[in-house]
């Protein structure tokens, strides 16, 4: 197969950047998209050029390192698939393909197609955990969990943190990413003690990072490689409402009155 690629090149975060055009030929349909870029990079290296920088690691759709907006879609045209598991058989022979980095002010470009997603880690650090030290813990069977609830929590925590939801959203919102973690922990008994505080802190950090706000476009769900449901955004909104309006946060104050 043969392809014409329009690829975003940008030396570093300060550089303006522009598209450059590349041809690849003799590509087997069973080549993955990133392997096709590997082939291009080897050719560029052999011919004295500079290879295109892009992130990837596990190449089996779980580490969340790969990215790329392909023909305007995060992780390309195939649903529920990361770029590393996208194959050239998913494109027509002779196609022209545009490849860009994640587009978001909160994800500055590192080089070419690689971006800095540390904003996501900062959201996690704001509250995406249960405060437990390492050491003896109760037997998990002492805290039974309805399997449907556990599975639902897993539906959320299966998020790979790739950032496709942000790249897909016309507003550049990180709601699906944040909601996935908030929902995962708020559904489980282990997440209850810090439930209110967690959602407030994580949402505050998300806003501070400069992500846009949610307008229910639904593009995040559509382009999420793990098909994480937009219902979790509703879940997070309810959690936030509950935390700020319905539930008093000063639990000790209540106790004092007794």
């Amino acid at each position: 197969m043969k392809f014409t690629l329009e690829i975003w090149r940008q030396e570093n975060g300060e550089d303006a950047g522009s598209f450059s055009s590349h041809e690849v030929d003799d590509v087997s349909p069973d080549t993955s998209f990133l392997e096709m870029l590997d082939i291009l990079n080897e050719k560029l290296t052999e011919s004295g050029g500079e290879p295109i920088a892009f992130d990837s690691d596990c190449r089996e759709g779980i580490c969340g390192m790969c990215s790329l907006v392909i023909n305007g879609e995060a992780h390309g045209p195939k649903r529920a698939t990361t770029t590393c598991q996208l194959y050239m058989r998913h494109f027509p022979d002779g196609a022209s393909i545009t490849v860009e980095p994640w587009r978001s002010g909160a994800f500055p470009v590192v080089r070419d197609l690689a971006v800095d997603r540390s904003a996501f880690d900062r959201i996690m650090r704001a509250g995406g955990y249960v405060t437990v030290h390492s050491g003896p813990k109760p037997d998990p069977n002492d805290v039974p969990v309805n399997p449907e609830i556990s599975e639902k929590a897993l539906d959320a925590s299966t998020c790979i943190g790739c950032g496709a939801c942000v790249a897909a959203c016309p507003n550049g919102a990180a709601m699906l990413y944040t909601a996935a973690k908030v929902s995962h922990l708020s559904l489980l008994p282990q997440g209850q003690p810090e439930r209110q505080e967690r959602v407030q802190k994580m949402v505050a950090q998300m806003e501070e990072e400069g992500f846009g706000s949610c307008r229910n476009y639904g593009e995040c769900e559509a382009q999420c490689p793990k098909s994480i449901s937009i219902d979790f955004i509703g879940h997070m909104n309810r959690e936030l409402l509950r935390a700020t309006v319905i539930e008093p946060t000063d639990l000790r104050g209540e106790m004092k009155t007794q």
């Binding site: 570093n12 087997s28 069973d30 080549t31 990133l34 392997e35 590997d38 080897e42 560029l44 290296t45 052999e46 004295g48 500079e50 290879p51 920088a53 990837s56 690691d57 596990c58 190449r59 089996e60 759709g61 580490c63 969340g64 390192m65 529920a80 598991q85 080089r111 690689a114 997603r117 880690d121 996690m124 650090r125 704001a126 995406g128 955990y129 249960v130 405060t131 437990v132 030290h133 390492s134 003896p136 813990k137 109760p138 998990p140 069977n141 039974p144 969990v145 309805n146 399997p147 599975e151 929590a153 897993l154 925590s157 299966t158 790979i160 943190g161 995962h184 922990l185 489980l188 282990q190």
Partner: protein, 638 residues
């Protein structure tokens, strides 16, 4: 080389508790004075960093990925073992110990394996407390599945994403400590050297992968949690970035490397399709619980699997190993797959594949049950191979997967270099010559949550904190060497990309030092590797500069280390003139084609001392003692 493993006295079941009672600890008020470096943020690194930071130590954690959450532990699929005996099927610490020791073909250190089995249950408790959503039964209790090489159901899981969920659990604990200022996290930063002063590890030199800046970091102890070296084969189930650099540089600085020839070839990966394939994707071993493995009885049979009648199918594992059937240990399954393919019965375009068939499981247990267990794995297979395993059998073939060898460590997980520790896959300690399924995560988390946070105190308490700072001349020297190597790589006037050399090395290693090995092939490889290394340093082209984000430079540095390490691996494989576990020397097999150990001459850990690149390294021995479990020939047939 001092190979005193410091195994505590007393009966095996009491060793660990007795050890904790007896070793020196650092008190809570002193811990904040000690700085510990942890290299790697996978299950071992993240659990160690978060545990030690919560205890009060100052921790610096480094990873080459853009976020600590992306370490390759995340890709572990099937599950994690623990001797909980929830199923009431006769499981116990002793049985998990026995299975691990036997699975490792009696080439592990008993005391470490027992401790691992003993700590296994606490890991599940810890992870559940973090909010890891383990599979549950309808009553809300934890569910289990069984895994290869054992007779009990003791594996805990989260669909086919157990590694992801466990890593996110450890990573959430790490995130909390980073937020609290107890861990200084350095992402996109790669270790390029270990700094040694007066024989003790005092810190590391790293490269910031974004700016190219090279910097020094001093600490009171350095913990390597940098994973395994399986990418020496180029095509493996490891992530592209997995590398030997941290452990190899430590080895060159004096840390003994143990059993480098022990590499597990996983039986159930999707076969390679072409030359430019960048990795082999693993299909979880849990699939062997319900899938039946077969090939056509007739060689070079080109019919579709559905057209091959039952009596013309060779269910070779079920026939050869009636007791364990499709659940034989990984090395046995891999070797048998190679055997039937070598005899021409292999399937698929390359003839390097066997069928893994769910037809019977679906008709017996129902499509729904099978879908719940393996749905996401089926989807994953379909995405890659564009075949639906619900309708047609999967094609699988063995792929290099896990390194049992690694830096030698004592019972405290300290290497032969004082102050340098190795945990998780980076050390050699618990899996012998073959690792059982669902044991890698168990070992990483036992090391990180429960062992190193305590045992490191025994070393730290003997030395004052902050003895050496990063302005010491040893750091300047190490930095200069790193600069020189980088400059050398960038100035080679060649035109071949790094990847081309990695493919060459991988092909050579899989052919001569892969599923089966022989003396002649290994000697040949030992001639070819130095030649390839010389060509690499002459003909490679590393574009760009050292002062920028330069992925070719990263890969070139890692491959340069693999090109040195590969030689050590072959030396070890040649030196170990017996078959054991995954190390199958063709000269030594039983009449049934099983590994034939030589306990008389080889019941020891091989620990190698570096003598310079291209020089014959020196092999030292740590004799293995078998007190709790007598040596026996491994037999999965009856």
């Amino acid at each position: 080389m001092d190979l005193d493993a410091k195994i505590p006295e007393g009966p095996i079941a009491d060793k660990w508790t007795r050890h904790i009672d007896e070793i020196r600890l650092v008190g809570p008020r002193n811990r904040p004075h000690y700085r510990v470096i942890i290299v790697g943020s996978g299950l071992a690194g993240a659990s160690a960093a978060s545990s030690m930071a919560a205890m009060g130590y100052k921790v610096d954690c480094f990873c080459f990925q853009d976020s600590p959450r992306r370490a390759h532990s995340i890709a572990a699929q099937g599950g994690i073992n623990a001797a909980k005996n929830y199923r009431n099927d006769g499981d116990s610490v002793h049985r998990l110990f026995y299975d691990t020791q036997k699975g490792g073909d009696y080439r592990s250190r008993e005391a470490n394996v027992w401790r691992l089995a003993q700590l296994s249950t606490a890991i599940i408790d810890q992870a559940a407390a973090q909010g890891v959503p383990f599979a549950r039964e309808y009553g809300g209790m934890l569910a289990n599945r069984s895994f290869g090489g054992v007779l009990v159901e003791r594996t805990f899981y989260c669909r086919g994403e157990t590694g992801q969920q466990l890593l996110l659990g450890a990573n959430s604990a790490l995130a909390k400590e980073i937020a609290a200022g107890h861990v200084n996290m350095h992402t996109r930063t790669e270790l390029l050297d270990v700094v040694v002063v007066d024989g003790r590890a005092r810190g590391i030199v790293v490269r910031d992968l974004v700016t190219g800046a090279i910097s020094s970091h001093a600490a009171d102890a350095v913990v390597l949690a940098s994973g395994g070296y399986t990418n020496v084969f180029n095509l493996s189930t490891n992530a592209r970035g997995c590398n030997v650099t941290a452990t190899w540089r430590a080895h060159k600085r004096g840390a003994g490397f143990a059993n480098p020839c022990y590499v597990q070839i996983h039986p159930t990966a999707i076969p390679a399709a072409g030359e430019h394939q960048s990795k082999l994707t693993l299909m979880s071993e849990s699939l062997r619980n319900d899938g039946r493995i077969w090939v056509p009885k007739k060689a070079n049979d080109e019919r579709k699997p559905s057209e091959i009648p039952e009596e013309e199918r060779y269910y070779y594992l079920e026939e050869r190993y009636p007791r364990f059937g499709n659940l034989v240990p990984r090395d046995v399954a891999s070797r048998n797959a190679k055997d039937v393919c070598d005899k021409g019965m292999g399937v698929g375009p390359t003839g390097q594949g066997v069928y893994l068939d769910f037809r019977d499981a679906i008709s017996e247990k129902g499509a729904d049950v099978i879908e719940t267990r393996y749905g996401n794995l089926f989807d994953m297979y379909e995405r890659i191979a564009s075949d639906n395993p619900r309708k047609t059998p999967m094609r699988i073939y063995p792929a290099p997967h896990y390194a049992m060898g690694g830096l030698w460590v004592d019972y405290n997980l300290m290497t032969t270099m004082p102050g340098l520790f190795a945990i998780g896959e980076a050390n050699f300690s618990d899996h012998g010559a073959n690792r059982l399924g669902a044991s890698s995560m168990m070992q990483c988390l036992a090391d990180g949550y429960f062992v190193i946070p305590i045992t490191i105190g025994d070393y730290l308490s003997r030395h004052p904190a902050g003895e050496i700072a990063s302005d010491h001349s040893a750091f300047r020297d190490a930095e200069r060497e790193v600069h020189e190597k980088t400059e050398r790589l960038l100035s080679i006037p060649g035109n071949r990309p790094v990847e081309a050399f990695h493919r060459e090395l991988g092909k050579l290693m899989i052919d001569e030092c892969g599923i089966s090995r022989n003396a002649e092939g290994l000697k040949d490889a030992l001639k070819k590797i130095p030649e390839l290394r010389e060509r690499f340093w002459r003909e490679v082209r590393v574009p760009g500069s050292g002062e920028q984000f330069n992925q070719s430079l990263e890969h070139a540095g890692r491959l340069a280390d693999f090109l040195e390490f590969a030689e050590l691996m072959c030396h070890d494989a040649l030196d170990r003139d017996e078959s054991c576990g995954c190390h199958f020397r063709e000269e030594h097999e039983t009449e049934d084609g099983e590994t034939l150990r030589n306990d008389e001459d080889f019941a020891f850990v091989s620990v190698w001392e570096h003598q310079g690149v291209g020089q014959q390294p020196i092999r030292h021995k740590e004799p293995l003692e078998f007190e709790a479990l007598p040596l026996a020939q491994r037999n999965y047939k009856t």
